[in-house]
Symmetry: C2
Subunit: 264 residues, 2 copies
């Protein structure tokens, strides 16, 4: 477990940013592992929507445990998006993350966005980060601020103040989704004394450019899940209208092998 | 329930074949319902792989019940692929299908392929079809023969003999995946006194051509699930290599609305 956490940590200090694609079920995780990704994250939107629940509503506590149990069979490191930890009690958050760690999970994302769409007081997230690090010191805690996503006034000031506090509380990495431009990302890299994680955005800076800016980790968030849904509806539309299919899918046997590999 | 079953039955007697796309979780079902499909099926490969289980191994009895409960909240009719019914006991198969029907399911696929890759004796499937029709007469039973898929000698003779027996036992529709060509499909339509269901095959006859041949229902099987996986790995490959994305995904808010709609 400690070795796996160390391996995950080392991926944040490589020549190129860690591209962390986000899965939501066993099949998506197995397909990404089969592509050779050493580590994957989860997408809370995907995990929630796959099971008919809203995202950001602290509703997928159990679904994450099920997914962690399944991914433990795959040759890939897993970091789980636990939203705000499914509790306001730091001890309960830490106990939940320890439960994930016992299943082989090497990292978590903990966010300061609340289910009502406001930011939690910084001290609330600070206490959660500190509690997790005390309970499972080797696990990589990626603390996320939703300052831009939730559209607060002065997002840059909020992001800097909060992420410094999370870092001081022991966060191993800092995740700032929604930073508006390259200049802001550069500033964040300079100001934050921890590996910076940003979200990949179609049409935005690519992996190489993010690497040159000093970004340590690039996640795909809900993008892969949303692309999968688009492929589903696009394909059935094409069939309905007699058009040719745009994607070459894996065969039935290839998909079955993903599961067989997972069942080792 | 009876009205919903009647509505599903009527879709097999329309001017154009019923295009029945196959979902595997709440999100895929909700996305297809939002596209206006009046009815959807399930893909046993997708249901199995999403939860880390092999397909065709009678392993997803519980997963189907969970999915049926979720899809019951959506404005769409659902037919469930129950493989061979998860039992060799016709009474147990009928009780399981009745459980699905109580959740709002309007149809099932029952197949004669066995978990060991051989075809069951025709009488085994006949007894299952008859038991289901006795237990839930209004539910649409689509009896599937795997004569071509399992590569038996004389698949046409096997398919005709079996599907006649299933029809005589009360099957409402007949599903013959893997029929090798248009001539065979035409022959099956002529010989089988029930709505014929075939599998959509990329590069094969399109929906209009299948309609002209007299096919009543066209399902997508595992295709949409496999296309979704291809979109996932293709997108992350594109991100890794700095290429542009091929698919325009739905927004976060659009995906959240799918679940909110499902939660009515």
């Amino acid at each position: 477990m400690t070795d796996r956490c160390a391996a995950f940590r080392a991926l944040h200090h490589a020549a190129r940013p860690l591209l962390l694609p986000n899965a939501w079920d066993h099949a998506s995780a197995a397909a990404l592992a089969a592509e050779g990704h050493p580590a994957i994250g989860t997408t809370s939107l995907g995990v929630a929507a796959a099971s008919g629940k809203p995202d950001g509503a602290a509703a997928t506590r159990g679904e994450n445990l099920v997914l962690a149990r399944l991914v433990a069979r795959l040759p890939v490191l897993l970091s789980v998006d636990v939203e705000a930890g499914f509790s306001d009690d730091p001890g309960a958050v830490a106990a939940y993350v320890a439960e994930l760690a016992a299943l082989g999970v090497v990292g978590v994302n903990v966010e300061d966005g609340r289910t009502d769409g406001t930011l939690a007081e910084p001290g609330v997230t600070v206490a959660k980060v500190a509690a997790i690090k005390a309970a499972v010191p080797e696990l990589f805690v990626n603390a996320r601020t939703d300052a831009w996503w939730l559209g607060v006034p002065d997002p840059l000031e909020q992001a800097l103040r909060r992420t410094r506090a999370y870092r001081d509380a022991g966060a191993d990495g800092i995740f700032v989704p929604g930073a508006p431009d390259v200049a802001t990302i550069r500033l964040l890299v300079g100001e934050i004394a921890a590996p910076l994680n940003v979200l990949y955005t179609p049409g935005g800076p690519d992996l190489d450019e993010l690497g040159r800016l000093g970004v340590a980790r690039v996640s795909t968030g809900s993008l892969l899940f949303r692309v999968a849904l688009a492929a589903v509806t696009g394909t059935v539309d094409a069939i309905r209208s007699g058009a040719a299919l745009a994607v070459e899918p894996p065969s039935y046997a290839q998909v079955q092998r993903l599961t067989a590999a997972g069942g080792r």
